[in-house]
């Protein structure tokens, strides 16, 4: 880890690499985040509606429940787990393949700190861009809930709109963004670690990719628990 955060050889090149990684790891994940968030937002809204069949419960609470579920857990943790699968496997297999095809040795031979050159831009790119993915997921998830309400007539649209604005706590967004940044660090560093230390051939690259995803997912859940206790208790 010390080598990853050591002083870059040429800052301009690292900046270019970081921008490239923002595109590869961040922008290319927008589509999957939107698709999943729309559907989950819709499903959360419908499930809440069907589980709260009581005349004692005001209908706008369905909107509130959907909103808080998205803000507190889904858009940060669930999206984090999805990105651990998509981005984490990408990072581990890319770096692992570079290791077994001697591309990392080639970097070292040129006098380049390969750990820093390959891993630092990925960590920075994810920590910078993933909060935007979380914000997109929150917004699109709420739209998904609204679409479900409109197309199924499960509850009046006005109640849903009122509910998603009712008792809004801005700190929930801060909480979700802090979690996202921590998850971004976990996903990139853990996956990169497994990719960078691959030894052998294609089979080992596949294994390292799986390990990267599994361990970063477990660490995300652990971090979720710790951060929730620290920030919301």
């Amino acid at each position: 880890m010390g080598r990853v955060f050591s002083r870059p050889e040429k800052s301009k090149i690292y900046l270019q690499q970081t921008l490239r990684e923002i595109e590869t790891l961040g922008l290319n994940s927008v589509g999957i985040v939107i698709i999943i968030s729309v559907f989950i937002g819709a499903v959360i809204t419908l499930q809440t509606r069907y589980n709260l069949e009581s005349s004692w419960i005001p209908l706008y609470l369905i909107g509130l429940t959907a909103r808080d579920t998205l803000l507190l857990e889904f858009s940060s943790t669930m999206v984090g787990l999805i990105l651990a699968g998509k981005v984490g496997s990408n990072i581990a297999s890319e770096i692992g393949t570079m290791r077994i095809t001697e591309q990392i040795d080639a970097l070292e031979m040129m006098g380049i700190n390969s750990a820093s050159y390959l891993i630092l831009p990925k960590i920075l790119a994810s920590m910078i861009f993933n909060p935007f993915l979380t914000l997109i997921s929150m917004f699109v998830g709420l739209i998904g809930g609204w679409l479900a309400v409109v197309f199924t007539g499960a509850l009046p649209t006005a109640d849903y709109i009122y509910g998603i604005q009712y008792l809004f706590v801005p700190f929930y967004i801060t909480y979700a963004l802090v979690k996202t940044v921590v998850y971004a660090f976990i996903i990139t560093s853990v996956s990169a670690f497994y990719g960078y230390n691959v030894q052998g051939g294609a089979l080992e690259v596949g294994r390292s990719s799986t390990r990267g995803v599994v361990y970063s997912s477990i660490l995300i859940l652990l971090a979720d628990l710790v951060l929730t206790q620290m920030m919301l208790a």
Partner: protein, 251 residues
């Protein structure tokens, strides 16, 4: 000149290189030969610092590489060009970007200057109109040529080639051999080549070092190799029935 003294390398308790001492001469193509698994690649990786040695020294013109820290080694490595077995071209970069990569990382040249230098090196390895192609679009021989161009782009003093002919047909292998030999003499650099290809040995082996089971067993020239009395070397050189027949005919 590169001087290796009493080099030892141990992996998990197994001694892979045992007390190897050898000198690689400047302006010559120095070949390390031996069977697969004899320790050639480990020796080369120890010399360039990709593996840490467990004993001995490696001198680059009297500068002991083994005792240097990362920063000092970095300076030496800028004087080294290396051709890896598979080329080790960066998949995400095209040919031009691959060759230009060391210039981007370590020089303050303008883009035009870097492009000119890149194209000079590509022309030197007889490649034209491939600047925009990616490694996945190149043949094995072309990959090797691009890798050679990248290795010489910073005018190295030392050139290391790990199995430069692996995966190539005999004719392309000869072309790559000749290219490496020409570059060695043209730039007056110290070239060290790992190979088990006897054609390469007879074609460009100005100095030949034979490694067997992690030990240096013989060194000499390509002319001397046919008359050497080392049993393991003879087993290696005259491995095929065809070679054995020729030897018996010339004896």
């Amino acid at each position: 000149m590169i001087k290796v003294e009493n080099l030892i390398k141990i992996f998990s308790g197994v001694t892979v290189l045992e007390d190897i001492s050898v000198t690689f001469d400047k302006g010559k193509t120095n070949l390390i030969i031996g069977r697969s698994g004899s320790g050639k690649t480990v020796l080369m990786k120890c010399i360039v610092g990709l593996h840490e040695v467990d004993g001995g020294s490696v001198f680059y013109n009297d500068r002991n590489f083994v005792s240097m820290d990362f920063r000092e080694r970095k300076e030496i490595r800028r004087e080294i060009g290396m051709l890896f077995q598979g080329g080790a071209l960066f998949d995400s970069l095209n040919v031009e970007e691959n060759v230009m990569f060391p210039l981007n990382m370590f020089t303050e040249m303008s883009f035009e200057e870097k492009l000119e230098r890149t194209n000079t090196c590509l022309r030197r390895v007889d490649l034209a109109d491939v600047n925009r192609l990616y490694p996945g679009e190149l043949s094995g021989g072309m990959k090797k040529r691009v890798a050679i161009a990248r290795a010489i782009v910073e005018n190295p003093k030392y050139l290391f080639c790990d199995e430069p002919n692996s995966g190539l047909d005999p004719k392309t292998a000869l072309v790559i051999d000749d290219l490496i030999s020409e570059i060695t003499h043209e730039y007056d650099i110290t070239t060290v080549i790992n190979t088990h290809d006897m054609n390469s040995v007879m074609e460009i082996g100005e100095k030949v070092v034979f490694i067997h089971e992690g030990r240096k067993e013989w060194e000499g020239t390509r002319e001397e190799i046919l008359d050497a009395d080392n049993e393991n070397l003879n087993d290696f050189v005259f491995a095929s029935n065809f070679a054995k027949k020729i030897k018996s005919l010339t004896a």
